[in-house]
């Protein structure tokens, strides 16, 4: 499969930079996979899984909100945080999940609701990617 270079940047570090065959990100309305030769695109990312395929193997990580830039010949992902499965603090994510899901059920202003939704999505992604303590949905 044709390869293309991707870069994943966060405000704290350069998370990943390499040639890959495919990149899958989470958009507000579902998953999107970018292959080589994709047309120029800018997309907003929701907190969720981010996967890339390199040498026939998929790698997965948990990222929070950010955006994706597809330029001819290059793809860049800017996310607020990005963690590999073994970097995730599953206990913290679990605590966050419990806290936020309780908040989510409450009556909130539209703005608070959106903040809670994002926090909950971050916690759920971390739990799902870390593989332990999957939330029982």
């Amino acid at each position: 499969m044709a390869e293309f270079p991707i870069e994943i940047l966060t405000p704290e570090r350069e998370f990943f930079s390499s040639d890959v065959e495919a990149l899958t990100v989470t958009l507000p309305d579902g998953l999107l996979t970018v292959l080589a030769g994709h047309r120029p695109m800018v997309a907003a990312l929701d907190p969720g899984e981010l996967r890339w395929k390199k040498d026939g193997e998929w790698s997965v990580c948990a990222c929070s909100e950010g955006f994706l830039e597809v330029e001819p010949g290059r793809v860049r992902v800017f996310v607020q945080s990005c963690e590999l499965p073994d970097e995730i603090d599953a206990n913290r994510a679990k605590a966050a999940f419990e806290r936020e899901s309780e908040l989510y059920a409450r009556k909130q202003s539209l703005r608070e609701h959106e903040l809670t939704r994002l926090a909950l999505a971050r916690a759920m992604t971390r739990l799902a990617v870390s593989g332990k303590n999957r939330p029982n949905l």
Binding site: L9, T10, P11, E12, R13, E14, L27, P28, D29, L32, R39, P40, M41, V42, A43, A44, E65, G66, F67, E69, E71, P72, R76, F78, Q80, S81, R111, L115
Partner: protein, 295 residues
Amino acid sequence: MSDISDLRQRLAAIAQTRQITNAMYLMSSTRMRRESQRVKYAKEYFTRLRSAVLDIRDNAGGITHPYLDERPGERSAFLIVAGDKGLCGSYNHDVLEFALSEIKKRDARFIETVGRMATLFLRRNGIEPDVEDLGAAHQPTLRSARSIVENLFQFYDDGAVDKVYIIFTRFINAAKSQPTCLKLLPLDLDAFSDIDTHAKLWGDVLYEPSPKAVFDSLVPQCAIGLVFAALVQSSASEHSARMNAMRAATDNADEISRELQHKYQTLRQLSITNEIIEITSGAEGIKQGSEAETQ
């Protein structure tokens, strides 16, 4: 004699202090290097985010966001970033004096502080900060930036303030930093002329799911990125100020201990000479006495 033991004690004390300042120097120089690395990433992140937002604003047309609209009125919220600790030269003093003059110039309705020194300083000047953010100065994280933004922007969303300012120390290089007041809200995306907008070379761009949705999600992220960059720059400035202060302190300790060592050796030599004189003159006296006896 007491002079000499005093000097000996002072020399030992200075050697101990020097050891501490030297250790602090080494520590802050490592931290400074780490933070200045993070300054680079934070800046890169914000630059790209901003140019993506600008692209949408300039090309999609008619899209706007409450965070970008100017509001009449001067009611302001302030975020003041200083350090948790002293012993860093004039770092805290510079940024806090600057903050005080900015606050007095404007109609401050809400003040949030980062760093213990900021809170103490404002209290000394009769201003009680409304919120104190603990821990964000010591180790700036994205999480602390996010919670600060959520806090501050609530007042803006509720219409309690018209502007949000952030006062921090801009990190220029290891030897130079500059207290800065930046308008966080409404976000003035054209204000950062030092950051070059990337040239739009690739024409027709697809926005997923829609330009408006991308825009709405990117503008708050821009603000978070900006606050994070400010926290990191302040922290880098603090460490570089501490590094310079501690290097100066170590140099001074070296100089004082050299002077004292010199004084100590002179005194010691003097006392030895005196003792020898006493002994020889004593011996001379005894010799003369015994000679007189035999005669």
